[in-house]
């Protein structure tokens, strides 16, 4: 672990991204394009209409283990940018990542009997539904609530604390899928295809874990502070 490492707006975007593979996903979901050449993080963010502080905060969570954001950063960052990022991530998981994972699993089970195909597809569909339900709660209840708090119009029947309490684990099924693919695929499956499926599963597992950290350690404290008018 590199504890002294910190990202800054002045460093080159290419240098920041080279720190960790998962940052490529953050860049994409922030709506920032590649082809930035030698531009700094700040320049790329400004050009793409993204708040630099929110970008640095999210990148730090993804790339630095056990990162604790400095208090000033937490005060300066706009909760709307965090919500926007979470929203885009939700869409990305469901519309893009799970589709790619489904393709990889389909390719992997191609040499197997129809039965394997169906079993794995059903498992993934069930997991997709679980994720969609989890995200829908955030999209339909939590995020609108954040808007209400920002407008000073929140009702009395919901607080961010309830969200914190109900925040369920969305990783268990994915971990099981990992074990199943890693340990129990029949010999006729190609190693290359199993490897490809596993890279998607590992990447999704990592990304979801960091996504949860952003919700628990950034979104909830920010909203809680707004609730108390701090």
């Amino acid at each position: 672990m590199n504890d002294n490492f910190q990202f800054s707006g002045q460093q080159k975007m290419s240098a920041l991204l080279s720190k960790d593979f998962s940052l490529l996903g953050v860049l994409t979901r922030m709506g920032l394009p590649f082809g930035f050449g030698d531009a700094s993080v700040e320049e790329v963010c400004r050009k793409g209409g993204v708040d630099t502080k929110a970008f640095l905060l999210i990148c730090s969570i993804y790339a630095l283990d056990g990162y604790v954001p400095p208090r000033e950063l937490m005060q300066e960052v706009d909760v709307r940018d965090i919500v926007k990022y979470l929203h885009r991530s939700h869409r990305w998981y469901l519309d893009e990542f799970l589709e790619e994972l489904a393709d990889a699993l389909k390719e992997m089970t191609a040499p197997c009997s129809e039965k394997y195909h169906l079993i794995i597809r059903k498992f993934l569909n069930d997991y997709r539904e679980e994720l969609a339900k989890h995200f829908a709660y955030e999209e339909e209840t939590v995020f609108p609530y954040v808007d209400q708090v920002l407008a000073g119009k929140e009702g009395k029947d919901f607080t961010i604390l309830q969200y914190e309490k109900n925040h369920s684990n969305i990783q268990e099924k994915l971990e099981d899928l990992k074990s199943l693919v890693l340990k129990y695929m029949p010999d006729i499956c190609e190693s290359r295809a199993i490897y490809r499926a596993l890279t998607y599963i590992y990447a999704l597992e990592y990304d979801l874990a960091r996504h949860t950290v952003i919700e628990d350690d950034i979104l909830i404290p920010l909203v809680s502070r707004l609730e108390h008018h701090e």
Binding site: L118, L177, Y184
Partner: protein
């Protein structure tokens, strides 16, 4: 798979320190950290499988401290190692499968945990990683969506026995959820779709 560790340590510094020492090797993984063992934490832990448990005995009332290890027995049969943050009585030390000291070097901690696990697995009969016939039977019931109580009734077992079997199934297969176990049962021809 790395050995799963449960930490029951009130001090965040000690917990993070242990986590750091253990995660560095890849041999151990801290699966869960608790600050205390309240009345309901065992329920939360019932579906988790641990290879070793590290407890700071100061979480127990002094009067009941000698019972510390029996608390963990209700949810896990893993060896229990004490984390000595405050000096412990000799008769309390004896209750544990090992005692870690704050001044132990990282390698010493790893050694003590290995010894605790080794001594425990000698006392347990050495079963293979294949599921037994009974475990397969229970696995199919789980995959069919039966609850522990229903499985116990169907197979004429106590609920406690069913839970123990389920833990062993999860330990052997590495699969926790009902959906995952169903896939396992189907793929291995234990049941039809």
């Amino acid at each position: 798979m790395s050995k799963q560790v449960l930490l029951v340590v009130p001090s965040a510094i000690v917990a993070r320190g242990l986590e750091q020492v253990l995660s560095g090797t890849g041999e151990f993984e801290v699966a869960c950290i608790l600050g205390h063992l309240s009345g309901n934490s065992p329920a939360q832990l019932k579906d988790m499988v641990f290879d070793v448990i590290i407890i700071d005995p100061s979480i127990f009332e002094y009067a009941s401290r000698s019972n510390g290890k029996s608390v963990t027995a209700s949810f896990s049969d893993a060896p229990v190692v004490a984390m000595e943050c405050t000096p412990l009585d000799d008769n309390i030390r004896k209750q544990y499968d090992g005692v870690l000291s704050l001044t132990d070097p990282p390698a010493g901690i790893i050694e003590k945990l290995r010894e605790a696990i080794a001594s425990r697995s000698e006392t347990q009969k050495n079963e293979g990683e294949e599921l037994s016939a009974r475990e397969k039977e229970i696995l199919v019931c789980v995959a069919q969506g039966l609850l522990n109580k229903e499985i116990a009734d169907r197979l004429c077992l106590s609920i406690h026995t069913v839970i123990t079997h389920r833990k062993n199934i999860t330990r052997k297969t590495g699969i926790k959820t009902v959906a995952g176990l169903t896939v396992y049962a189907l793929m291995n021809g234990l049941m039809e779709m």
